[in-house]
């Protein structure tokens, strides 16, 4: 299992736009790429960790990403509500990015509080969906599911429970398969890893 802060660390590599207030003619060469030149007043792309660092030194202004606006997030929320499956989100790290930007640069982002609530709503909705589908998965004894558009943080929230649960279930099932020949025909009603009855879902 990963710690949430490790996922945040991954999120810090996402690209974001800033408007610097200083001039620096050359490029800055980083492992994740070269960024620059920095010209006061002209927006440019940098990784989030650079942006946060500069912002904390008050040498730039962070431009909120396109999706980080109340009406856009509300749209996503409606879409998510309407769909049975998980919908594609504009960023794989929406929760972490919102959290980071609003902590460091809340003055740069208009309607910060509303955005925070909207993102939390979105997160809650998706987590509820995830939990009910995990439950369904276990209940119906499926062996396969496709989980499109889930973000790392969301996957991480079921990670500590899910593999162990499946493991426990499998050890319980194992014995039925290996030593039970009394009721071979009824096996298809419960899908075990060896009997491949499944339906792609979630």
């Amino acid at each position: 299992m990963m710690h949430p802060s490790e996922i945040e660390f991954m999120a810090e590599n996402e690209i974001i736009q800033i408007v610097p207030t200083f001039n620096h003619a050359g490029h800055v060469h980083l492992i994740c790429g070269s960024y620059g030149p920095f010209r006061a007043g002209l927006p440019l792309n940098v990784p989030i960790w650079v942006a946060l660092n500069l912002r904390q030194k008050k040498t730039c202004r962070i431009l909120a990403p396109d999706w980080m606006a109340v009406d856009k997030l509300q749209e996503r929320l409606e879409e998510e509500k309407a769909s049975k499956f998980f919908t594609q989100l504009p960023s794989n790290f929406y929760l972490e990015i919102t959290q980071m930007l609003l902590t460091v640069a809340s003055e740069d982002i208009p309607q910060g509080n509303d955005i925070k609530t909207a993102v939390k709503d979105l997160w809650d909705l998706r987590i509820a969906k995830l939990r009910s589908s995990v439950d369904l998965f276990i209940k119906e004894g499926r062996v396969q599911a496709s989980l499109n558009h889930l973000t790392p943080m969301e996957i991480n929230s079921v990670r500590p429970v899910f593999p162990d649960t499946l493991d426990a279930l499998m050890t319980l099932h194992e014995h039925i398969n290996s030593s039970d020949d009394r009721e071979d025909s009824s096996q298809s009603s419960i899908a075990t890893p060896s009997s491949a009855s499944f339906s792609p879902s979630l």
Binding site: M1, H3, P4, S5, E8, F9, Q99, T103, R131, V134, D135, I138, K139, G141, N156, S157, R159, P160, V161, P163, D164, T165, D167, A168, L169, T171, L172, H173, H175, I176, S179, D180, R182, E183, I190
Partner: protein, 199 residues
């Protein structure tokens, strides 16, 4: 983080589960084991009196076809009915500390109800899973709930709980200072040791 759920030779849970007692009676005369029954230490084991033996010992006698046992209370027909009706209301820990593991061992022994026991185990686990997960992720003070879980469920519960707490702390307080990974700090220690050896 990932526990090995499968029982192995040194697994404490498996040892404890095999220690649970089962009521049984001998159907043949068995010599030299009269020390097992403290109540009538006079004679060798005979057919009629029922005694309680731990599961691992019953296994040995079963191999010699000299014993027959009753399915323990937690797995008998009445409780199977209760568990099928609503597994969520049962206090598993009170019923049997290692409900799943002991049940699994039990169903491996030859008995006419073994198959039903297995089915009940799986169904119970599936039915209770959602409740376990919900408790782990939602309620703050959940000792009363925790007390009703079997040992296997407890380990899953604890893992889920820890993860949820990490997430909650992250959401309320942010990530804070990152710590050095254990690998890096070990590497430093090793390097220091190496340089000392070289001197």
């Amino acid at each position: 983080m990932y526990r090995n759920i499968k029982p192995h030779y040194f697994s404490i849970d498996a040892i404890m589960a095999a220690q649970e007692k089962i009521q049984c009676s001998f159907i043949k005369n068995v010599e030299h084991v009269d020390f097992l029954d403290m109540t009538n230490a006079e004679k060798d084991e005979e057919s009629d009196p029922k005694i309680e033996l731990p599961l691992w010992m019953i296994k040995v006698f079963i191999a010699g076809k000299s014993i027959q046992f009753d399915i323990p209370k937690a797995y008998n027909e009445i409780y199977r009915g209760v568990l099928t009706a609503d597994a969520n209301v049962v206090d598993l820990f009170k019923l049997c500390k290692h409900f799943y593991l002991f049940g699994k061992f039990l169903s491996q022994l030859e008995h006419r109800e073994a198959y039903e026991v297995r089915r009940t185990l799986i169904q119970t686990f599936i039915d209770r899973f959602k409740q376990t997960m919900d408790w782990a992720q939602n309620i703050d003070d959940n000792l009363p709930c925790f007390n009703r879980l079997d040992c296997l469920e407890r380990s899953i519960f604890n893992d889920a709980r820890v993860a949820q707490q990490h997430l909650n702390t992250y959401l309320t307080e942010g990530s804070g200072q990152m710590e050095i990974a254990a690998m890096i700090s070990n590497y430093r220690k090793r390097k220091m040791h190496e340089s000392r050896v070289l001197e």
